[in-house]
């Protein structure tokens, strides 16, 4: 934990980013208590903002502010689960493939095939056929999310394992398990953190993109789905409805993405000398694949 804090300390952009994330995290957790209504409960449609509906109601009479809170829940949950699981898998496989040569070779061949698959088109294609819910989405994102982490962690382990102190540990009879756990794993923490954030950002953009295209679960409240229905409403641009219907979910999305960008950028700057080498191969954050 102290290592973690050490990485973050002194980085203003990172602090701003994390504060914004924490804010939305709280909204997501406390959505049921903060929302003035059940987001599926129906009142009169297309009400302008009033005391009982601070952001009005949508085309089927649901309270938009409540939708917004529950949307934070879904978007962040998908992002957090997908990014978390794929980072853990990526680190574990990366360490294994960096430490055990023969197993590593096999794992890297699988990674190569996965890396050549364009992620977002693949998601659109699968989503068009399968109409994913929460867990299907997470499964997709994990399936295509672990490979980059594995590759980076592997090269980190490869450069680390021939250092004197690892040799020394081996000499005094430390087990593989101990060498990995005590010496090699900690050196992968900065990479894992950066990857977690980049992955998080990718997933949030991809999920909202799919929902915006109408390829998500139509009954789930997410920011992308809200934008989908708002944009599809015939007179959305003619009246002022867009101000309280389309702008809030769009702004929330933008803020979360921006916060993640700042946090990821600062971490990377901080972790530099070591990461810089990898950077030059152009693969650490390779930019989000949204539009």
């Amino acid at each position: 934990m102290s290592r973690l804090l050490g990485v973050i300390r002194g980085q203003k952009l990172a602090l701003v980013g994390l504060a914004v994330l924490a804010f939305f995290g709280l909204l997501a957790v406390f959505a049921p208590w903060l929302s003035p209504h059940d987001p599926k409960e129906m009142d009169a449609p297309m009400l302008p903002p009033t005391g009982s509906h601070p952001l009005g109601t949508n085309d089927i009479g649901q309270d938009i502010l409540s939708e917004l809170f529950y949307g934070a829940r879904f978007s962040l949950l998908v992002g957090f689960l997908s990014a978390g699981i794929s980072t853990v898998i990526g680190v574990v496989l990366g360490v294994i493939s960096g430490y055990y040569d023969r197993l590593g070779f096999t794992i890297m061949r699988v990674v190569d095939v996965f890396l050549a698959v364009p992620r977002f088109p693949m998601m659109v294609f699968l989503a068009a056929f399968l109409r994913p819910g929460l867990w299907t989405l997470v499964l997709f994102f994990v399936l295509f999310g672990w490979t980059r982490t594995t590759r980076l962690v592997r090269s980190q382990i490869l450069s680390e394992r021939n250092n004197g102190y690892v040799e020394a540990a081996r000499m005094v009879g430390a087990s593989d398990f101990r060498i990995i756990g005590r010496h090699l794993l900690p050196s992968t923490v900065p990479i894992a953190l950066v990857r977690l954030i980049v992955e998080f950002q990718h997933v949030i953009l991809a999920e909202s993109g799919l929902s915006f295209l109408g390829l998500g679960d139509p009954t789930v409240k997410s920011w992308g789905t809200m934008l989908h229905y708002a944009f599809g409403y015939p007179t959305i641009f003619i009246s002022d409805v867009w101000v309280w219907w389309a702008v809030p979910p769009g702004m929330c999305l933008t803020l979360v993405v921006l916060a993640l960008t700042f946090a990821g950028f600062s971490l990377e700057e901080r972790a530099n000398p070591r990461l810089r080498r990898a950077w030059r191969r152009g693969r650490i954050t390779d930019t989000p694949e949204h539009g």
Partner: protein, 322 residues
């Protein structure tokens, strides 16, 4: 080795494209016809039904179907669109020019701008210029493309009336010809292009900046400086060419994502490109068209990934030797 690997990937994708619809519950044709409970069940005429049955050869054994599918692909046959009642390949090709025009011009702009700003930022790392550039590029570029597009339409088209709401040209413009038509097309092009430039800029910018930073710390840059070579010459002749290595390959890879990357922007601006076509195919549950579009995109991406890999090896002697 590289080529073989990409061929394997392509083969896996082709097979997935074939088997996935067939693994769905119910027979493939009933799935193609759409779920009757949805808003858009598709009614087939006898002729369309014939076309479909013939294309999918659904009465033949699976192995034979698979072989026919691969042979058909080799001959450029991507299937038959239910919604448009036309061959998928010609539909896609008809839209390709608009997508290439929009994304190509946008790419030229954001690549140039990204490299320029990235180099400036790296040169002034940690100063006000650097931080200012970082914050403004990120802040402008973090908008999800579909939301950004909506806002641009609202402000520039509806409030100010400065640009058309959507489309690639005015209805009568195709006949007008000459300068009037060019002006009309550019008028429609501006806002979608602006959205693309803004969303893609941060990637190239950050990559250039960090790549430049890495290079500026190298021994040969220090050597050049200590020899008394002037600073701008060190930057332009010694540092930038080396820093551009990863950028060139990233750009090559991005070309593969062009169709997909413009999809959101095309949809929001109702631009008649391939992205809009594929989106409409999804909405209308026109699966042959969706699959054809998907295949074409995949082929694009895999091809450009391979090109990027080969290019990188050519440009960097260290990789070539390894």
């Amino acid at each position: 080795m590289r080529v073989a690997q990409y061929l394997i990937t392509l083969f896996v994708l082709l097979s997935l494209n074939f088997f996935l619809p067939r693994m769905m519950p119910g027979d493939p044709l009933s799935y193609l016809l759409g779920d009757p409970s949805t808003d858009a069940p598709i009614l087939l005429t006898e002729e369309m039904r014939e076309n479909l049955l013939e294309y999918y050869g659904l009465n033949k054994p699976l192995a034979q179907q698979y072989k026919d599918y691969l042979l058909g692909l080799a001959g450029g046959d991507l299937g038959w669109s239910i919604y448009y009642n036309a061959p998928v390949s010609s539909l896609l090709l008809g839209r390709l020019k608009w997508t290439l025009f929009l994304s190509g011009t946008a790419a030229v702009i954001y690549v140039t701008l990204g490299i320029l700003l990235g180099a400036i930022s790296a040169r002034n790392r940690g100063t006000k210029t650097d931080v200012g550039l970082l914050v403004s590029v990120f802040s402008l570029g973090s908008w999800p493309p579909f939301f950004l597009g909506m806002l641009l339409i609202i402000f520039f088209s509806l409030k100010l009336g400065a640009f058309p709401i959507g489309g690639a040209q005015s209805p009568g413009a195709a006949q007008a010809g000459g300068f009037g038509r060019v002006k009309d097309v550019l008028h429609h092009w501006f806002l979608p292009c602006l959205s693309l430039v803004l969303t893609h800029l941060p990637g190239i910018y950050l990559l250039t900046r960090n790549s430049m930073l890495g290079v500026l710390g190298e021994d040969y840059v220090r050597t050049a400086r200590s020899k008394g070579i002037r600073e701008h010459r060190v930057l332009l002749r010694h540092a930038l060419p080396n820093a551009l290595l990863p950028i060139v390959t990233t750009i090559a890879m991005r070309f593969g994502f062009m169709i997909m990357g413009t999809m959101f922007v095309e949809v929001v601006f109702a631009y008649p490109g391939m992205g809009t076509l594929i989106y409409q195919a999804g909405a209308a549950r026109d699966y042959p068209l969706l699959q054809g579009g998907f295949l074409l995109m995949m082929a694009f991406v895999v091809f450009f990934n391979l090109a990027a890999d080969l290019l990188y090896a050519r440009l960097d002697p260290r990789v070539r030797r390894a």
